[in-house]
């Protein structure tokens, strides 16, 4: 067995892992990146549409172009070792953590490191997760798998598609499918509002005459061998109106019904997981319940924009560096989700520095307001023009002191009103 020691192991060579690895290495520490595919970049490689990097680079890039910038940055640093086609399958936590990477070329490699960065990304929710009744034919794909088949492998999964879910991947795929000659009959959305950005509704549906059915759902899948159609049922006040159902003849169903952080390996480390996000509970330094194990990107919580993933992962890296230096600040205070908030990340804050938070709303509202309280005392208010569950909200909070110089825990609560 190959054995090596390194300062930090980054698990996953997608947008999160690349940003973290590059930043840690720049501080002079040795980093090993484990990537199971044969190239770096993660899911960005199949996102050949544009719109990436507007926040970070003020440029309109495709997914692979965005990834390339980080791949180049990692490539320039000789203290980063990238192990491609290597899957981290087993781990053993400790004062020094061990990761076992499996690959065809190298057998099993044992890598010991003081710091671990979990950057495995997320997976798509599938038919089983949302429980669509009916038969179980071929022709039911998650939108991301269809995207991969078309954009990377050059395979078309069917000819007449219905897309369930109006998240951005679903919308992008409606356009992509049309461009390769498939007929997209409809996009079905269970909520009364679209999950994706307005811009994508316009550019991916309206421009192609693809109807969007809001407050509708697919209530049954038909077909013995291959999908032959779906039953679409409208919802009125959350009740399904069976009598108003109609059928669409299609041979393909694409599901764009949400993403789930992929935390299998985190579980093997013994990391405590948050049921609201599906990711780890993390302190203000994005460190999990296991000392030295950090998490960033979509494995921590699902982001809307890759630009935010990069930003969060670089911040994570700066805390990893503190940890490796032995200067990691442990005086963290709790952060909780208040009214109308699904979750706030991170789950702790540092009183004497600037903290950055990401949160998701539980409600849809125009002219909302973000309210932060400290032990019940108002701290900060921020106007938000529009909130909805599918759009992440981020904000920064300057040093909370001097009040926190008093002894004892001070609880920060974030609400949307």
């Amino acid at each position: 067995m190959r054995e090596k020691r390194t300062d930090a192991v980054v698990i996953g060579g997608g947008s999160a892992g690349l940003a973290a690895a590059s930043r840690i290495a720049a501080a002079g520490y040795s980093v090993t990146v484990l990537e199971r595919e044969n190239e770096l970049g993660g899911i960005l490689n199949q996102c050949i549409h544009n719109g990436f990097g507007l926040q970070r680079f003020k440029e309109d890039l495709s997914g692979p172009e965005y990834a390339e910038r980080f791949i180049d940055s990692v490539g320039k640093q000789d203290n980063v070792e990238v192990l491609l086609e290597t899957t981290a399958l087993e781990v053993s936590p400790g004062a020094v953590h061990t990761v076992y990477g499996y690959s065809r070329q190298g057998g099993v490699s044992r890598i010991d490191a003081r710091a671990i960065v979990l950057a495995m990304g997320c997976r798509e929710r599938n038919r089983g997760n949302i429980g669509i009744p009916g038969t179980r034919p071929s022709g039911v794909f998650t939108a991301g798998l269809a995207q991969r088949l078309i954009n990377i492998d050059g395979y078309i999964p069917g000819r007449r598609a219905v897309i369930l879910g109006s998240g951005d991947i679903g919308l992008i795929m409606a356009r992509r499918c049309t461009w390769v000659g498939m007929e997209v009959l409809a996009v079905i959305e269970i909520q009364s509002y679209p999950s994706g950005l307005t811009r994508n509704i316009v550019q991916c549906l309206n421009d192609f005459g693809i109807p969007l059915y809001l407050s509708h759902t697919v209530s049954a899948i038909h077909g013995k061998d291959r999908v032959s159609g779906v039953t679409v049922t409208p919802l009125e006040e959350d009740r399904s109106m069976g009598a108003k159902s109609f059928d669409l003849d299609c041979d393909t169903i694409l599901l764009s019904v949400g993403l789930i952080p992929d935390n299998e390996l985190s579980r093997k480390f013994g990391v405590r997981l948050n049921p609201e996000t599906g990711g780890a509970f993390v302190d203000a330094g994005l460190m999990s319940s296991i000392p030295g194990v950090f998490a960033c990107g979509n494995v921590l919580h699902v982001h809307d924009l890759v630009d935010y993933v990069s930003e969060e992962s670089e911040r994570c890296a700066s805390f990893v560096i503190q940890y490796l230096k032995g200067e990691y600040h442990r005086q963290h205070h709790p952060v909780t989700a208040g009214a109308n908030v699904k979750y706030v990340i991170p789950n702790k804050y540092l009183p004497d520095t600037t903290n950055r938070f990401y949160l998701r709303s539980l409600i849809v509202k125009n002219k909302a307001e973000l309210v932060v309280t400290l032990d019940g005392e108002p701290m900060k208010r921020k106007k938000l023009s529009h909130v909805q569950p599918s759009e992440m909200v981020s904000f920064s909070l300057d040093a909370v002191s001097p009040r926190t110089s008093e002894p004892g825990e001070k609880r920060l609560e974030v609400s949307i009103v």
Partner: protein, 500 residues
């Protein structure tokens, strides 16, 4: 196609047909298995709940009771020879009232009468010690430590592999439409025109046993499909029990159970709904609420949030409820093996012995083969090895280092092993390896499996199917289809990012 006359043709490659085939492979007799689907175990057996029963449900006055008791003890040796996932994790029947406890006591006496070893009646404390996740309202129950769980399709795959290793032939996509009696042998016609000859015929056609019997001009009977819907839960589910949990049974089925699988996941179900259609495997939402309500009554921590997938299977129910295993009275060289519903999987090895005896009675001379080899090679599974064991294996077989399925930790070498054993549909590979069976349901691995399938078999991408027939996954290549001109673009409302 051979011109020779086979000694025996077995119609149906479910667990019953496979067990019979393997039994006959130990004798000097030529056997062919005929399966209408694209792979073995694709009918009733693939959706079996996978319980090796404890031998206390039925009296031995019933054939199924006798064969269950005889079958259940045969699994340990079979596992040693055939390496399918099987664990004697134990079975609990749990009672909520004093009245239910009386039924449990009857089951206990039944089991003792059937000479089942280790059965115990449990008081409240004992049963909660055995399974701490039970509902606190459970007042007691029955513990059958010899009961267990098995991967039914893996069992069938292993039986067929072993049978084939010893000379049994398999013809898939062979749907028997007629078996003509030519005095000494049957001429068996397939729907696609194939034809072969066999002296003895075994009707192990599951749901279609009535139709096959009619095709042989033998007894008329009616198989009624009884649908059972089940849910598969993630291995991380908080409600996952250590033992199979039964409620006190209802009249026509054993009720909604919670079943840990030998691969560490968990199943909840099945329902029991009679229908006429033998092909309708659709799931419904109505059952959903009821199944989970019933399951949570047993184990409160069972949650819908842990569902990976739902599926339905059909039991081949026959009037009277007992197995129908006999030499046909109309066709003396036809053995009927029909109505094999629960506990058919448990009974299958004993059914095979019984059918072998019936063949002898019907006149077939069976001589044991000196060169019979009961063992098949065990295919290593990377998920079962420690990193050090894995490294040793990888040095010899590097393809074990290529992890194809991340959810269930399945390597390329295991996919190739499935393909080389003839499992060339996506579902076959799923059942053999578990790839696509985990929480992402193939989202990350199916395109990799398609690539390996093409490389190993020479199939084109359009030929790859989920389970044969018209269930292909890819219809065209990029560039093949004529692109429709979109309706004129609306006003551009740019200014926001589209990239996500």
């Amino acid at each position: 196609m051979k011109n020779e006359v086979y000694d025996v043709a077995i119609v149906g490659a479910g667990v019953v047909g496979a067990a019979i085939a393997r039994k006959l492979s130990s004798y000097a007799c030529s056997t062919v298995v005929l399966e209408k689907e694209w792979d073995v175990s694709f009918g009733v057996s693939k959706t079996n709940s996978g319980i090796v029963h404890g031998g206390f449900h039925y009296p031995t006055s019933l054939l199924k009771g006798r064969l269950e008791v005889a079958g259940t003890i045969m699994f340990d040796r079979l596992q040693q020879e055939l390496h399918f996932p099987f664990q004697r994790c134990g079975i609990l029947v749990v009672a909520f009232t004093v009245e239910e406890m009386k039924t449990v006591e009857r089951m206990y006496r039944q089991g003792v009468e059937n000479r089942i070893i280790g059965l115990e009646l449990c008081n409240r404390e004992r049963i909660h010690t055995l399974e701490p996740k039970l509902n606190a309202d459970v007042v007691g129950g029955l513990h059958a430590p010899s009961g267990g769980v098995i991967e039914p399709y893996r069992f069938v795959f292993s039986l067929i592999e072993s049978a084939r290793k010893n000379g049994v032939e398999l013809q898939t996509r062979f749907k028997v439409i007629k078996a003509q009696d030519e005095d000494d042998y049957f001429v068996i016609h397939a729907e696609d025109g194939r034809r072969l000859q066999a002296r003895y015929l075994i009707n192990a056609a599951g749901l279609y046993a009535d139709e096959v019997s009619a095709a042989c001009e033998a007894e008329r009977f009616h198989i009624t499909p009884r649908k059972g819907q089940e849910f598969l839960l993630d291995r991380n589910a908080a409600g996952l029990p250590g033992k199979v949990i039964f409620p006190v049974p209802a009249s026509n089925s054993k009720g909604i159970l919670v079943i840990p699988t030998p691969e560490g996941t968990c199943m909840v179900g099945p329902t029991a709904v009679e229908q006429e259609d033998k092909e309708d495997l659709s799931t419904t939402r109505d059952n959903f609420e009821r199944i989970f309500h019933s399951a949570r009554r047993l184990i409160p921590k069972i949650s819908e949030r842990d569902i990976i997938t739902a599926f339905a299977g059909l039991r081949p129910a026959l009037e009277g409820g007992d197995f129908y295993i006999a030499v046909s009275e109309k066709q003396p060289r036809l053995i009927q093996v029909a109505g094999i519903q629960s506990p058919g999987l448990t009974a299958a090895p004993a059914i095979a012995e019984h059918v072998k005896d019936l063949l002898k009675i019907a006149g077939l001379v069976l001589t044991e083969r000196a060169d019979y080899d009961p063992l098949i090679p065990e295919v290593p599974r990377i998920r079962r090895l420690s990193p050090y064991e894995a490294d040793t294996l990888l040095q010899k077989e590097p393809a074990y280092g290529e992890i194809v399925c991340r959810c269930e930790s399945v390597s390329e070498a295991e996919i190739v092993a499935a393909i080389r054993r003839g499992h060339t549909t996506m579902d076959s590979i799923k059942f053999y390896t578990r790839a696509q069976m985990g929480r992402c349901q193939g989202g990350f691995c199916s395109y990799k499996i398609m690539k390996i399938l093409q490389r190993e078999t020479g199939m084109s991408i359009e030929e790859i199917t989920k389970r044969g027939g018209k269930s292909r996954l890819i219809t065209d290549r990029v560039g093949d289809l004529t692109v429709q001109t979109p309706t004129p673009p609306a006003q551009d409302q740019s200014g926001q990012e589209s990239g996500k």
